[in-house]
Symmetry: C2
Subunit: 210 residues, 2 copies
Amino acid sequence: MTQDGRRRRGLRSREAILGQAVGLASVEGLDGLSLGRLATATGISKSGFFAHWSGKEELQLDAVDWASRQWREHIVAPALRAPAGVRRLFALHEARLRFYAERVLPGGCFFLAVQAEFDDRPGAVRERVAQALHDWDAFIRRLVREAVELGELAPGTDPAQLAYEIEALGEAAVIRSRLLDGQHALTHSRRAVLQRLRGLCPDPSLLPED
Amino acid sequence: MTQDGRRRRGLRSREAILGQAVGLASVEGLDGLSLGRLATATGISKSGFFAHWSGKEELQLDAVDWASRQWREHIVAPALRAPAGVRRLFALHEARLRFYAERVLPGGCFFLAVQAEFDDRPGAVRERVAQALHDWDAFIRRLVREAVELGELAPGTDPAQLAYEIEALGEAAVIRSRLLDGQHALTHSRRAVLQRLRGLCPDPSLLPED
DNA sequence: ACACTATATGAACGACCGGTCGTTTATCTG
DNA sequence: CAGATAAACGACCGGTCGTTCATATAGTGT
């Protein structure tokens, strides 16, 4: 029998803890988050969670993976349901803005908080975050390349350059929307990407006007 | 006599501490920075610095002001030496990229680190940072408006929109250059702003080709 | 000479940090 | 049933955090 209600209960705890950890980390950072507060927030004892991880860094690594999965479900998957090409590229950006607007994570964006925290701190966590960011960037570049191949973006378009711009305009949305002008930042972000894509698209009717 | 060598010595200590604090905060954040490490880095004792500030928050507020001054000296001032209009706008962006490339601050950008840290943490520090960011944004908008009035940017240009884009493309440069691809991020950032400005400028010869 | 003040110190504080320990409870196996 | 094992617990460790305090030193005003 592999029924083992022990393991099932453990997995449920694990998932609950990781969900809480990613949410808290989007606010206070992945290292700023303390085990004590995480234990309080999840309702378990501080010690009883060394049953799942050997230390804080192990938990941090799993939290990065959990956040990657959440990102794929909330941003990548909806985009893949849009038709390939420039519409899919814009759907990706809109999914991201929706993720921010709906406040799925209390701190806005897990990866932004963690990037700012670990970009100067060598170690396994930094590498895991860099890998996730690299995969994300490669995904955007792939969508750009597909759009070019479909003739929906100007032939000379540089995927790396356009991917940088889309990512920059998306990241800035969450920073500015939380610290300054709320809704305006999301509007500016949406319009910036939309107009950039329309400018490169031979058939602008594929995209909304505004 | 107001000669007072005590005060002069105190001011020198104060400046030295703030400089160190801003540098360290660009790496570890303004709250992640501990008084003990700051004391070690500056060579003074941990306690002997309650002579200058009543607590950590006071120091943090002064550090924000110090970083604002540094930003004005390194980025705003050079831009003001360029001719008004679109060239000044691009000079501003280039000064920023130079600031990052020259690694003036060990962590890249003080304000980015602090924004990510305090955007969810209410308090005096958050307000001070938000004010600094607002002033910076207003400055970019002013340069855009001047360029429009000089006929160097298309008449319909929305200053808030363009300012958002320039700021987003600048911020992303420091994030990505530190975590992923180093020089490439700066190149992409420069090219993105340059092409955007050239596209809006009736006389593109005012700007470099690439 | 004197009091005064600004600057700095080392020792000590309570709180919290990540982590270890032995133990208990619940579940599965034989 | 007994034995093994996963999950969770409370108590506690050494260390670091921000902060306080009594004290020492040096520069200033009278």
